[in-house]
Symmetry: D2
Subunit: 136 residues, 4 copies
């Protein structure tokens, strides 16, 4: 299985008054992860949009195990969890880089839409590429 690992350093603007990262911000890093995974697979998201396909998020699930803090370096691991005819599920793990602690894990389900917002089949070639990043 191919997965992508990318890194990010937490800024002050990501934290809230509890002194930890605000829960919505991890979803930004999920996006960062899936964008980098697509790039790594040779199918950058901008090229997908150029072909008139869009992958809006239809569902997200996220479990918060430990908190990221200001100045932590985090690693975002992203893989393809599931592909169907016209939808795809990306899975994510967000880890603290210095000790490998698992902070957050989650997934996002995306529909495949055309320019008119109609659900369409994922093109064969893209489907093939995405399958190389699925578990087993």
């Amino acid at each position: 299985m191919k997965k992508n690992v990318c890194y990010y350093r937490v800024i002050y603007g990501d934290t809230d008054q509890m002194g930890v990262v605000y829960y919505a911000n991890y979803l930004r890093w999920f996006e960062m992860g899936r964008t980098e995974l697509l790039r790594q697979l040779g199918a950058p998201y901008s090229s997908i949009e150029d072909r008139g396909l869009f992958f809006p998020v239809a569902e997200v699930s996220s479990r918060y195990l430990k908190s990221a803090r200001f100045d932590d370096e985090i690693a975002v691991e992203t893989y393809v969890q599931e592909i169907a005819r016209a939808s795809i599920v990306f899975g994510y793990k967000i880890l603290r880089k210095n000790d490998g602690a698992l902070l957050v894990e989650g997934w996002t389900r995306h529909a495949c839409l055309d320019r008119l917002g109609k659900v369409v089949r994922i093109p064969r070639q893209l489907d093939d590429v995405l399958r190389t990043a699925t578990a087993d």
Copy 2:
């Protein structure tokens, strides 16, 4: 069942280049909803923190059915979905105000922690109040 309904007008800064609200931003409105529900129940979150209790988000789930757009007025409906000994689940519906269309629905599960980050029982009085906002 008591539920809270609060309103928000979508700004430019909430949207992304797809022309709709970025998916992480709905989680901000979930927060707005649960804060207003607690206020309505007479237990504002700031008073809860003053008593040394914290309700960090342990898990979130969100389904995106339709998109909110710039300048849409949205209604956030919040209720208590479940209460356990030391955790609470809030449920949310985000609707477009002008036609009542359901845009997003979701829930967040929160642990009840003390100042040291230890899981503690939800105080009896607060538990009683929260139960008045659960669906029967």
Copy 3:
């Protein structure tokens, strides 16, 4: 002079670990203010865009005097500070509602562009309307 006053309740997600609102977030409320001013003047920004005009921000200046905190209600006062042939300056004051303390003041300068990104003259009718909101 017409000015607009709109209100917002600070959420957790607006704060940072210093326990106060993160400095970039006030710019979101500047946007909220100018959008509401335009609506009040009968020229909502969405109708301006529908006519093929765009007012991207060319410059911003903001002074932070006191901090807004979680759950504070803030008032955003917005007025037109200056209008030129093809640009407009909005001025802002952000106040704490309960005691009227001035928290932040600032301004944004906007170019008037057409769909192609070319600088164009502000249409006469819009210019007239905007002038009613300038300080004399």
Copy 4:
């Protein structure tokens, strides 16, 4: 003069419906830049806070020349523009990495405060270090 250069890849969540980065988000990258500059100078901001000093933003100014777009790699150049007894001004340039185009330039002025929020003199040792990053 020492300056810091750090890099960031624009995500979808940074953009707005005009198809470009929302103006408030550049202020996040200003923060990223000054944090990395302090780290490079051997005075990471977390160590400054550990010593009981805080540098809240007192003023920001930002000029938007060109727009960053989704997936653009940007370079943030940060330097010390001015140091006074109890305040410091950081200067920033945000450039598009692939062609070096200047997108945004700005500065932030910070007060030096102690834990009680009182303005205090910048410690000698820190002042010395910061001066190495000022323009001649």
